[in-house]
């Protein structure tokens, strides 16, 4: 039986195991719920659920109408906070290899952000685009949306390179989420210095709520009570961050890091209990992103550069990380990281929530369509699976 690496976002999933073991798996195996987390390269969840969102959304069937979308805002914030928590609990800096992995992941993410940001700024100036937000903040948000990646799940038989790439993919969202806290506030109209202060507030908020939740669930009298505390804490994280127009993902990241470094097995508790609702939240996030899509000329113009420069950034960043931290990052790291997973479009959706505007809608549409295109490219460019 396949045993999944427990450090992957979301942890082992009973449904996946059941479906994969079924003799009639076939097409069903491609729709495994693990794919909903962007961990399965064969068919990423975004490829299924984003088009489903478009179909259900106001542009086609209107089942997920604008009114429904308005009501879903808070739930989406909670889903974003849960994603942040999963990134946070993957940050374990207790041994040297983990720290080196974080360095390699951050280098790779930073290069991708820089490549997309630079290209976007050059193109904005050349196109004479009149954006209704600061072009630097828009370019930074595009870069952050492009920097997320998903290397896929690894099992016991996976090669060392696959395992290393998966570990880096787990951690390459940490730096973008930190920058994202600043970029969101900046994109929403705050001056850069205040945007940094706002990100610090978000981290403090996340750590504070995490501390309160930790005190509660560590003293829970049973598994059910503990699960209620955990879910309640994440709901509080997402709700408070959304109310204060802060980044729920950064608040979740701060909470996740707090729980990882807290005494005891807090991060394992979180993985176990949050794992029960994560799939539903991620699917909701993707369907909402699909239903919120609005196609504008700016979005169409941004789509191709997003895909091309994201690809370039991933490959250059992967090579640089492999050169800087050769013991941790495989030489073909970039090819492993082309599939974007769900965090990039989640971040673009968050920007649309915090600062709704034509530009934010264009960024969301470009990031979503770009993510779908990159999923396809990821299947093509991914190194052949090797067994080690």
């Amino acid at each position: 039986m396949r045993r999944y690496d427990s450090s992957e976002v979301g942890g082992p999933d009973i449904l996946d195991v059941e479906v994969a073991a079924s003799p009639r798996a076939g097409a069903l195996a491609r729709l495994r719920t693990r794919a909903a987390l962007g961990l399965e390269p064969a068919l990423a969840p975004a490829v299924v659920f984003v088009p489903l969102g478009v179909l259900l959304g106001p542009l086609v069937l209107g089942i997920v109408s604008e009114e429904v979308l308005a009501h879903l805002d808070t739930v989406v914030s909670i889903a974003l906070a849960a994603l942040g928590v999963f990134v946070g609990v993957a940050v374990d800096l207790r041994d040297r290899t983990s720290r080196r992995t974080l360095v390699a992941a951050s280098v790779e993410a930073l290069v991708t952000i820089a490549v997309v940001l630079g290209a976007a700024l050059i193109l904005f100036a050349a196109w004479g685009l009149r954006l209704d937000a600061n072009p630097w903040s828009v370019a930074l948000i595009l870069g952050i949306s492009a920097s997320a990646s998903s290397a896929g799940a690894v099992d016991d038989g996976a090669a060392g390179a696959d395992r290393a790439a998966a570990a880096i993919a787990n951690l390459d969202d940490v730096l973008p989420l930190l920058l994202g806290g600043v970029a969101l506030a900046w994109g929403a109209g705050q001056p850069p210095l205040w945007a940094v202060v706002s990100a610090v507030h978000t981290v403090l908020l996340g750590a504070g709520v995490a501390a309160a939740g930790w005190l509660l669930f560590e003293r829970a009298h049973g598994a059910a009570e503990r699960a209620v505390f955990v879910v309640g804490t994440v709901v509080l994280l997402g709700g408070v961050a959304a109310y204060l127009a802060l980044s729920p993902m950064l608040a979740g990241l701060a909470a996740g890091v707090f729980w990882t470094s807290a005494p005891g097995r807090a991060e394992k508790v979180i993985r176990d209990d949050l794992g029960k609702i994560q799939h539903a939240l991620v699917v909701l996030l993707l369907v909402t992103a699909g239903a919120s899509l609005v196609w504008t000329p700016i979005a169409l113009w941004l789509f191709a550069p997003f895909v091309v420069f994201r690809l370039a950034g991933k490959l250059i960043g992967g090579s640089l990380a492999a050169w800087l931290v050769p013991h941790v990052a495989p030489a073909d790291l970039g090819s492993h990281l082309i599939a974007p997973g769900v965090l990039g479009l989640a971040f673009a959706l968050n920007f649309q929530q915090v600062a709704p505007s034509a530009t934010a809608a264009a960024v969301l549409a470009a990031a979503t369509a770009g993510s779908l295109a990159c999923e396809v490219l990821g299947v093509w460019a991914r190194p052949r699976p090797a067994r080690g």
């Binding site: 290209a119 209704d132 000329p297 420069f309 370039a312």
Partner: protein, 437 residues
């Protein structure tokens, strides 16, 4: 034993090939895409986002009654600090070939007996005070006398916010019944330098519906600035920039007119492609007696003035006006792929025409008469109202006059005299007097 071939150079790995291919493709994509310009007018505001829906729901609540109460309170507070000034919208009327329509613009009482207003393009002030108005034709600002029945609004010394977050402001617009107050939501406003105004303006994001010329106040009644249309997009000229731009007017002096002796036209997409330049002002005519004669020519594109990009005639004239009388204006000019610096000393007042010359270019028509090809600014022909495309069919006593006969008739006229021209303008015959100075 068979000889073995020596090993060839190691083939680059798959990752290296992919990296090289991607970098090359990225560079090509960047080069190719940066040659395009985003079509003007295409950026659309997204359909109502979920947040706007929540706002609509809010609008049904009593909160909006409170906003209405604030507007009523401000109206009472500011009613005598703003006035509605009658204007005649000549430009719009000419465009629609209709009689000029009366309209109203809001004026800000800057002194007990004077008001400042922004005139719409082509509009003329009406009413008894119009003759006494001091007008800045570059910024289209006017200061004119009004009934002294209130104190001036204290608008100096209260600097507006450099950037406004999402907030409501009060827009005051002109109307037949007087100045009208209404709340306007500003999603965002970002400060940007505007060469036309010579300072910072606040560019408004989102679909803000506010008339150019509207006076904007905070909900506490503080004057924020003047609404303008910046290349068709709404913007605010904040207090400080407005005070600087209107300083001479407020001192009672109409800024001296300046002239560079050129006619310019903003580039549209087709012209930009033809001129192989992305932005700037295309020189369409050069006055033979002006400072640009021999230095600029038709098809030159003026890209910047003293290092600041210019994309409108008003911005160029504003820069010329700001230059010291003895200091030439440094223009960055693109000509057939080359970029050069041209120094021009602006002329204070209109460029004088050559004595004895009517100031127009004509071409003889085979059917008789002469067609006006070009009219030089500030020339007798321009003052007479001649336009390119007019056909001169009579000049004085001469029927179906040729270009040389028209020039001769003008040269022979005594100083201060005039020759009568019959013009065929689009099938309508009109008479014009070409006055010799």
């Amino acid at each position: 034993m068979e000889p073995t071939s020596p090993p060839g150079p190691a083939r680059p790995g798959r990752e290296t090939r992919l990296l090289a291919l991607t970098v090359v493709v990225s560079a090509l994509v960047l080069l190719a895409l940066s040659r395009f310009r985003f079509p003007e007018g295409s950026p659309r505001v997204a359909p109502t986002p979920p947040a706007a829906l929540a706002l609509e729901q809010l609008a049904a609540r009593a909160t909006y009654d409170e906003l209405a109460a604030i507007v009523a309170q401000l109206q009472a507070q500011l009613a005598r600090s703003v006035v509605a000034l009658p204007v005649e919208d000549g430009a719009a009327a000419a465009a629609q070939q209709m009689p000029a329509r009366p309209g109203f613009v809001p004026g800000l009482r800057v002194a007990a007996d004077r008001a400042l207003a922004l005139l719409p393009r082509g509009a003329r002030l009406q009413g008894p005070a119009a003759a006494a108005a001091v007008i800045d034709t570059v910024h289209r600002l006017a200061v004119l006398p009004v009934a002294a029945d209130a104190e001036a609004l204290r608008w100096g010394g209260e600097a507006g916010d450099p950037a406004l977050g999402p907030r409501y402001v009060i827009a005051v617009e002109g109307g037949r019944a007087g100045a009208a107050f209404r709340p306007v939501f500003l999603p965002r406003a970002d400060a940007a330098h505007d060469p036309h105004w010579g300072g910072e303006v606040l560019v408004l994001g989102g679909a803000v519906q506010v008339q150019p010329g509207a006076l904007l106040f905070t909900l506490r009644g503080r004057f924020l600035g003047l609404a303008i249309a910046d290349h068709g997009y709404p913007a605010i000229v904040p207090t400080e920039t407005l005070m600087r731009a209107s300083a001479a007017l407020l001192a009672g002096q109409a800024p001296a007119p300046v002239d560079l002796g050129i006619e310019v036209q903003p580039l549209d997409d087709a012209l930009a492609r033809a001129a192989n330049v992305r932005r700037g002002l295309l020189v369409t005519a050069v006055h033979p007696n002006g400072p640009a004669a021999g230095r600029l020519q038709f098809s030159d594109v003026i890209q910047a003035s003293d290092g600041q990009p210019v994309d409108s005639e008003e911005a160029l004239l504003a820069a010329a006006r700001r230059a010291r009388p003895d200091q030439p204006l440094r223009l960055t000019v693109a000509r057939r792929g080359d970029t050069r610096e041209v120094a021009l000393l602006p002329v204070r007042g209109p460029v004088p025409s050559t004595p004895g010359e009517p100031g127009l270019e004509l071409r003889a028509l085979a059917s008789g008469g002469a067609e006006v090809v070009r009219v030089f600014p500030s020339s007798p022909a321009a003052r007479a109202g001649l336009r390119p495309g007019d056909v001169v069919v009579h000049a004085g006593d001469q029927r179906t006059a040729t270009p040389s006969q028209i020039r001769r008739a003008f040269a022979e006229a005594p100083a201060g005299g005039a020759i009568l021209l019959a013009i065929d303008r689009g099938g309508t015959w009109i008479a014009l007097a070409l006055v010799k100075e």
